[in-house]
């Protein structure tokens, strides 16, 4: 009898935990995304972007991003520049093949949002905040964000030179449920 009560209580507790665990909706990244960067001298896109996105406007506490960009997929529109960008002078794609971003906190900022997390580029990990908007239409939605990255913070290229230190990054990620 005692065993039955313990078993029942355990079962109830497990059921209660599951009942109150709020799972944020997981969004699937479509292949129409655009990850582009621009500065005075250089500009281009990253062709390969993947990861997991769980986002609920009503419950930001359980929302999270874990995304990666394939460094070798960089395309500046010029073959020589691509080779140069992937070399050890800039991104060193052979040694640091991905740019990784993992969110830690998402907050509402006016009509938009701000995600704070760890951004790892070129082997350097830094806390980084990205402002973004989220537009939902039924089962599809789009994340849009524009922000600046100081390439010197991640030891990309030599400071100064022809390419400006501040690189503007634009991200547009359409997603589906």
């Amino acid at each position: 009898m005692k065993k039955l009560i313990i078993f029942s209580v355990t079962l109830l507790l497990i059921a209660a935990v599951f009942a109150f665990t709020v799972v944020s909706p997981v969004w699937k990244i479509t292949d129409k995304y655009n990850i582009s960067f621009s500065s005075n001298e250089a500009g281009g896109i990253f062709k390969t972007f993947k990861g997991s996105i769980a986002f609920d406007e009503q419950n930001l506490a359980v929302s999270n991003f874990d995304v990666t960009v394939d460094v070798a997929s960089i395309n500046t529109g010029n073959g020589l520049q691509n080779k140069h960008a992937k070399s050890d002078e800039w991104f060193d794609a052979a040694k640091y093949p991905v740019i990784h971003y993992v969110s830690k906190k998402i907050v509402k900022a006016g009509t938009a949002y701000q995600v704070t997390g760890d951004l790892e580029i070129h082997g350097v990990k830094k806390e980084f905040t990205i402002p973004f908007t989220f537009k939902r239409t039924g089962n599809t939605a789009t994340f849009n964000g524009t922000f600046n990255v100081n390439r010197n913070d991640f030891h990309i290229g030599k400071p100064g030179g022809d390419v400006s230190d501040i690189i503007k990054v634009e991200v547009a990620v359409p997603v589906t449920k």
Partner: protein, 130 residues
């Protein structure tokens, strides 16, 4: 003389354009990328004929100055200028939708030499009148 030179320019330009289009087809078939949206047939023919027409005018002007020595000097200048123009494909910024811009110079650099080749090939046919 200028008329004959311009005719040589147009014919050699068209020949260079046709050679470039054939080369583009072979390139696309073997490497899977012909840059047909960037390097259109109209652009190939237009730039080839424009190049050889400029060469024709250049030859005419040079002949006024150099008289009998025109041929070797002109050939040297035409070849050097053809070499110089290959900087263009290396520096070209293509649309981001193009997957492999690395293959662009391999397609376009030979095309930059076709007008000179066509000119040098057809010039002997016009030798008596030019």
């Amino acid at each position: 003389m200028l008329k004959k030179l311009l005719l040589l320019g147009v014919i050699s330009g068209l020949l260079a354009g046709i050679a470039s289009i054939i080369y583009q087809k072979v390139y696309a078939a073997s490497l899977g990328e012909g840059f047909t949206e960037t390097v259109t047939i109209a652009k190939i023919l237009g730039s080839s004929v424009a190049g050889t027409l400029i060469a024709a005018v250049g030859y005419f002007l040079l002949s006024k100055v150099l008289k009998g020595n025109t041929e070797p000097v002109f050939n040297l200048i035409f070849t050097i200028l053809s070499f110089v123009t290959i900087l263009g494909p290396f520096a070209a910024k293509l649309p981001m939708t193009i997957e492999a811009p690395e293959l662009f110079p391999g397609l376009t650099i030979p095309m930059h030499f076709f007008p000179a080749l066509a000119w040098f090939t057809l010039k002997p046919l016009f030798a008596k009148s030019v």
